[in-house]
């Protein structure tokens, strides 16, 4: 019972912000090292210098952009959890769309709609991957003998402890 005793929500924003920053910083380093290498003047030494300069100047910016996205996303997600009193994939899809819209608010309504759509679809795809993974991981809990019913939980009428759906189903 301990693993869900702690509320993840307000702390998760900081968590996501940091995670997104490191993801952006690492990805940005790789991207900008290649880009800096290609854009530098000829000569291996100069190219390496150029690559290093590009990483130094650009990768933190990419990380920061990612962190803004992640933090805002998580904040909206948590707000939605608080308002709706429910946690389901809709929260993250909505907050992805809202994040996209908010971050392009200075570019006008059309840009907001476009990036809201992109954010929503992207998050829906991520959710879909998550759903797929849970489905495939849930596959192994199917009854071994499909003709045999799994036992009913014993809380129905009498009640001993029923610990964990997956482990306690003995299929006779």
């Amino acid at each position: 019972m301990e693993e869900y005793a702690r509320e993840p929500c307000p702390w998760r924003i900081v968590d996501d912000c940091g995670g997104a920053f490191s993801m952006g910083a690492i990805g940005g380093s790789v991207f900008h090292s290649i880009k800096g290498y290609r854009n530098a003047p000829a000569g291996h030494y100069r190219r390496l210098i150029g690559s290093l300069t590009a990483v130094k100047t650009r990768a933190p910016i990419t990380g920061g952009n990612f962190a803004v996205w992640g933090g805002l996303f998580s904040a909206i997600d948590c707000s939605l959890v608080y308002v709706r009193k429910k946690e389901d994939p809709w929260n993250s899809i909505t907050s992805g769309a809202a994040t996209g819209a908010i971050l392009s608010v200075r570019n006008g309504v059309a840009a907001m709609a476009g990036s809201a759509l992109i954010g929503g679809v992207l998050l829906a795809l991520i959710e879909g991957i998550g759903i797929m993974f849970t489905r495939f991981s849930a596959e192994q809990f199917k009854p071994v003998d499909p003709t045999q019913m799994p036992q009913d939980p014993q809380q129905l009428p009498p009640k001993p402890l029923f610990g964990g759906e997956q482990t306690s189903n003995s299929y006779q």
């Binding site: 019972m1 693993e3 869900y4 993840p8 929500c9 702390w11 998760r12 968590d15 996501d16 995670g19 959890v81 009193k85 429910k86 946690e87 389901d88 994939p89 809709w90 929260n91 993250s92 899809i93 829906a124 795809l125 959710e127 879909g128 998550g130 759903i131 797929m132 849970t134 849930a138 809990f141 199917k142 009854p143 499909p146 003709t147 045999q148 019913m149 799994p150 009913d152 939980p153 809380q155 129905l156 009640k159 029923f162 759906e165 997956q166």
Partner: protein, 228 residues
Amino acid sequence: MISIRICARNQNKFQNFSQLFFNTCPSKDTKLCKNDIVRRFLHRNALNQKLKEDSGRHNTQIAEQKDKPFSELSLGQKVARTGKDASYLTVIVIGVSITGAMFYMIGRELFSRESPNGVYSTALKDCTNDVRIEAALGKPIKGYGETTRRGRRRFTSHSEYEVEGVKHIRMKFYIEGPHNKGTVHLEKVKDPNNKYQYRYMFVDLDNSNRSIIIEDNRQMLDNLLKQV
């Protein structure tokens, strides 16, 4: 399709290139039209080159036509071209079908009432509307699934299975109010009308040994399914 490769040192050549592609020709004879465009393009390039040479800077550029029209190819080339096109087409078809399948899966998960997410939604609603649960947990009741490592709790643990061709789904999720928490266990069964019915649903309260049984239709449903 005509594709033209340019090796141009100066930027403004690309303007010509884009003009070439987006130029719409009023003539209906496409072949003529294409040739016309190409000729115009080459002519303009030649002019540019002349200008460049006049100004003293050497500039090399090549405009060449790749990909002959299909009718002019030999048999072997035709086979090769068809194979290439077919392989590209398969890549496109595979990509589109994977995307479509993913969107279908997501849509079914989100909008259907018989998907795990739909079952979770209706069950949560039924729980929060139950008077006994409201009394035990307090008023604003929230629901969530299993906690992942990243602090997400939106996936409920569930298993779908079939017994003698009848679909069952078992699910477990958590509800929480100001006074107490609880774990909801439920099982749904497709009745003869192919609709999911609760076989049972009960809530285990955390701080007491009590469990609140919301639905228990096992007797009724099992008899119903036996008759069919």
